[in-house]
Subunit: 366 residues, 3 copies
């Protein structure tokens, strides 16, 4: 058995924090100080963990996302709450903050900082001498960086992650195990590629030449802007020519497919198993729920919302909320779906009317 | 060319068996003895392989799953059959057993035992000196085990498989190539993770802070209980806090998405490309067919069945059989779907009635 | 930092070409000579790139796929066009060829030849001494080839690619990072497996033995014929017995699921996120658009087309164009879908007729 020496974990900052997260007691006053908010109720309230309203126990800090959840606040077992409105706390102690959910995320980050591998190239990592690595990068054993690739400062490559020839990955990125950035693609700063994500596979393009499907070379790239997150086993295909683009701050869940030449704007949310066919465009802050499919060359407007499993076949205006296959306004779809379930009844009613009408026509009216 | 020495395969137990599986002749009497069943017909019937009814050839042993397949038994080319009822054999020789399909699986396991790599850590595997390995584990070149991870007895890691920091994998598990268990997640005994499966990627949680989607740290884990199987390239996300759970004996097909904080009970079947949004729950022995989508926070009851592509938007009672988007009882969906296909006809009929009614109203009745 | 020496890239043929592709100027006469076509307009027209009609700029060569796109040709900024009919060029110069799209693909291949790693087994690749490698294969660091496996001439394995025991991969194949071919499976010549594709995971088969789902051993294989392309993170499961087959020239997009014992014929197109349940069959030149689901044991006829998200529950005749869940002829589905959206209106109309009919029945007619 031969095990390459692995760097010792930093004097267990992560370890200490994890211990703290489990065992440490913090007070409401400390929370308020961390977040710059105002305490109401007893500032000495002792807390030991973080949890959402429905799952919170006695010692847990929780948050009330909006006023509609005020009832849930009263019913929750949480020990204290982050709220934007004291009324929303349902009588519990808490801290007033502008955006409770964001405050919770920030506090969680401080309480549970992610563990970081020690910087350096582990023995067993495959880094081309022609690759350029920034300061403080961590390349794990089994990860590989090809010739001409550039990796930004403090970026982390987990085992099996691969950055291809002439590709660039920005600073402060994390590539989880077996995430792949193929040749020449460009990844911005602070991007997260979850395990098995594939950036830059060939777009799906062929032309029938009379005897066989002939591959259209896919010579473009993928460009992920800053702060993009790509879920486990998702795939973003490279463009035929030019770029497939995922805009700044866009978050993509697991098992999502982005076809070649798509342009996804900034701050978009694509939930799991969404599929965008080639050359489709998704506007800023749009939200596509799980398993939505979008036809090629379709444009979805800014802030539009597609509910789960919607099949988008034509351009969707900004702000639209659409459902169904093919898509239609969500409210209309709700009404039509309710009637779909009642179709047998409607059909029987139609037959009944037909019979009665026939009787009338034969002179039996009244 | 430099190829790390690989351990010799065990004196080819697998090899011999494979040969046996192809060339060996076994008799019905031997089958009965292995399975503890009763022969009918000629116990000396010679057999050379195993195959399902429709594909079985002369020398094949097959099985009749239930009485409804009795006709298929008579028509099949199989040489002999495993049945639970002699009538089901359609005149062929066979062996009476309680559960023919289970007996077939058991016999197949004996006839074709899976090949096992030789125990040990191959040169080129990356195992932290701070990891703990059980007896008889086999870690292939290119696989990696992080600090604090524990691997149970006889578990096999294929090339590129990764077990993260402080994660645990039980005994007798198989992690196929590039399967990933991220930090702190827990996998039970006798679990199978197919190639590219990802256990414990971050849950998909963000909060809009006014300027950007802010990541909610995902600090929980995934826990797979014993005898769980996860398909190729499927993803089970870690909980925000606490655990995402997959219960004992549950079988998950390829490309399935399990969101953060989901709880999937015991002996559930999730077919390919199913997606469970966050915090949904699936009851014991439920079956979700291919491409089913389940909304967040929805509960599916024990033994419920969702047919292919169903979109589950609300809690489903135990034992329900549901279809459609949104879901409805399967029989109702069948009726409504049949009428959906006839909508043009219903619409024309409606217009016809309207015209005739108008004529009557104008005094043209009869 | 220890970085295994990597072979120098060939004296940058790829590099030169890439430079050429960006900076090089080519004339219409050169294009015609390469493709064996006839110039119309100025043969000295200078071009610098390739692009589709809508995205083409001044110096770009583009193509007109068919006569329906003739208007687009006139509107395009392209500098010159490949066309099969001079009328389709909208007044621009160009080259007459039989199949413009195929000609474009061929020209693109010549202008942008794919970069090839230098042949050889990189240090850090794991190749069993019992594997057989053809001439000119390139096995990257982190790739692995098991005992008994055979790799054909000039085939390329990128980092993390895995070829299992006794598996065969033909000549001129490319396995991108982390693509997996499991034991005993067979891949033909000129196949492309994109990153994370999994060939030969176990089929999804269990039998309930009264207490648990018992795994049915999956002892068959997958056979990919020549010229097959499999998308990123797609999965093709091995047969229970026998073979799962993907026919010659078939192209499969990302995140596609092919169940055990499926038989996909030649020159089929399966778009992203399609799922075929076990033992289904897809006929020659059929096209399944994105997210289509196909039930087990269903047969889709030659040349049939399933539009996006179709749920195929029964055999589909050759040449059929089907849509909907369950599937129906596409035109019928279009009509029914249009009426689905109008169901609230139809329902109101029905109620109106009922009221008026009742009035007539009570003697209020006319």
């Amino acid at each position: 058995m031969r095990t390459p020496k692995r760097q010792k974990k930093k004097p267990s900052r992560g370890g200490r924090q994890a211990a703290a997260a489990k065992g440490r007691v913090f007070t409401l006053a400390e929370v308020a100080r961390e977040l710059g908010g105002e305490v109401f109720g007893d500032p000495a309230t002792r807390l030991t963990g973080l949890a959402p309203l429905e799952r919170a126990a006695d010692g847990d800090l929780s948050w009330v996302a909006d006023a509609r959840r005020a009832k849930g606040a009263a019913a929750s077992h949480a020990g204290a709450l982050l709220v934007s409105d004291r009324e929303a706390a349902g009588g519990k102690p808490g801290v007033l903050v502008k955006n409770p959910a964001a405050a919770m995320a920030a506090f969680s980050e401080r309480l549970f900082p992610p563990s970081r591998p020690k910087p350096g190239v582990e023995r067993g990592a495959f880094v081309s001498p022609k690759a350029r690595l920034g300061k403080g990068v961590a390349i794990a054993a089994g990860a590989s960086v090809a010739a001409g690739a550039r990796i930004g400062d403090r970026t982390i490559l987990h085992p099996g992650a691969r950055v291809g020839e002439d590709a660039t990955v920005g600073a402060d990125c994390v590539l989880y195990p077996n995430a792949v950035v193929r040749d020449r693609c460009a990844v911005g700063d602070r991007c997260i590629l979850h395990a098995g994500a594939v950036i830059g596979a060939d777009g799906f393009g062929y032309v029938w030449d009379g005897e066989a499907q002939r591959k259209i070379p896919q010579r473009g790239i993928v460009r992920l802007e800053d702060d993009v997150e790509i879920g486990a086993n998702s795939a973003v295909d490279r463009a035929t020519f030019g770029e497939t683009v995922v805009g700044r701050g866009t978050k993509i869940d697991n098992l999502v497919q982005i076809g070649h030449n798509c342009v996804v704007a900034e701050h978009v949310i694509l939930c799991a198993q969404v599929g965008l066919a080639g050359s489709s465009r998704v506007g800023r802050r749009a939200v596509l729920a799980g398993q939505v499919g979008v036809n090629d060359h379709v444009t979805i407007g800014e802030g539009a919302v597609m509910t789960g499993q919607t099949g988008v076949t034509a351009d969707a205006p900004a702000g639209a909320v659409l459902s169904g296959v093919p898509e239609m306004p969500h409210r209309q779809w709700l009404r039509s779906s309710a009637l779909f379930a009642r179709l047998p009844e409607l059909s029987r009613r139609l037959e009944d009317l037909a019979r009665r009408l026939e009787r009338l026509e034969k002179g039996g009216g009244g």
